[in-house]
């Protein structure tokens, strides 16, 4: 199915706006100090599944840029969020694009979850010791489990919800795309 370029542009734009709105929801997880869950990656995952990996990653980047512009939070946190989102969305969309079945969706989401957890652990180990000037061992012993659990929970919830709502959203998307690409749609509709 081909989608024209303007359509891609508007989908990415509107879905990043959706992601920003969802990012402001911020459900705090009291067990993991300071971390807040936000469902914004779901919107990016949907774009990734509907159009492709690059638009999905673009959605994540625009979301983080706009969130930074309207909230002005710390730069490193935003950067980490963007990295996590791009990993999850990019990998799962890339994997799902080859064969679009329910099984591949589940497999790609689980693999992307694993990649996200491992990748974010590595990235946190790389970034935080020099940033906060603590020893690598200290982060490794006291902090890494919080990061691991947080990313695991986040990715699982995002993947789970995306899996449940993807089909319903993409059906509408396909219908609308079909209407705009097929100029004769009126005659074929009852």
């Amino acid at each position: 199915m081909t989608v024209n370029k303007t359509k891609k542009l508007t989908i990415i734009g509107v879905f990043s706006a959706m992601a920003v709105v969802l990012m402001l929801v911020e459900i705090p997880i009291p067990q993991l100090l300071g971390f807040k869950y936000d469902p914004s990656d779901i919107a990016a995952l949907l774009v990734g599944f509907m159009i492709g990996p690059i638009p999905g990653i673009l959605t994540v980047l625009i979301k983080d840029l706009l969130y930074f512009a309207i909230r002005g939070t710390d730069v490193v946190g935003i950067f980490m969020n963007a990295a996590a989102g791009s990993m999850l969305v990019g990998f799962s969309a890339l994997f799902y694009r080859k064969r679009k079945t329910k099984t591949t969706a589940v497999v790609s989401l689980s693999l992307a979850t694993l990649l996200l957890v491992v990748g974010m652990d590595a990235l946190n180990m790389l970034v935080y010791p020099p940033y906060l000037k603590v020893s690598y061992m200290f982060i490794f012993k006291n902090y890494l489990w919080v990061i691991t659990i947080f990313n695991l929970v986040k990715a699982i919830v995002d993947g789970f919800v995306t899996f449940l709502i993807y089909k319903k959203t993409s059906n509408v998307f396909k219908l609308e795309a079909w209407k705009t690409t097929n100029r004769k749609w009126r005659s074929s509709e009852k």
Partner: protein, 265 residues
Amino acid sequence: MNFLGNITIGQYVPRDSFLHNLDPRTKIIFNLVLITVVFLIKNFYQYAFFGGVILVMMVLSRVPLSHYFRGLKALWMLIALTVVFQIFSGGGHVMYSFWVFKITDVAVYNTVFITLRLVFIILAASVLTLTTSPIRLADGLESLMRTFRVPKEWSHDFSMMISIAFRFIPVLAIEAEHVMRAQLSRGARFDRGGLIQRAKGMIPLLIPLFVGAVRMADELAIAMEARCYRGAEGRTKYKQLNLKKSDCAFIIASFAMILVVILPL
């Protein structure tokens, strides 16, 4: 969950000041340099210098200082966490101890050092976001991308998407509010139970929202094509960005800041 209340706290404060009138590209470059430089700071003299620089910026922006402190207050958790990390990190002579906790002089030094770094970075980012509207920021990014030889098509698309997204945030926030009220009146629950329960509770909220978003995007695409939108080619701007003398001076000054850190003092 309250969608609308969160949106109205946008950062940008419209004023007529030196910083507001600067080109967004200048401010982005200044910010990037400043944040990089803050990471490289080695002693407290340099901190004093950059503290002065940021203070001058805050005064020049003519935005009430309370706005800056609001930004800091939103991140108190991160700052508190950092302090807790640092204060017990040990090393050097013990200054104070009770039970198993020991506070040493090196740890106190590190705590002050890192907290200042964090505060400076947050303040520097606030200077940018308080004085530049997101649309100007997108324009600045687009033209910076073009300076770094990113194809015109890509940079145009990127800033177009940012503009669309920015324009749709309030619309979608209102939509989210409506859908939430509608589902609440049908007996849906959003803020009860554990994480899985909540994730499931989000589904009746998310499906209508995303379907609505797809429809909106589609209508927007049709409206744009009806007005002959065809990407970057042949498109001109209403507000041109051009660098003035003050911008050039500012950029040179911001690169001069690197010298302060690199030169041994």
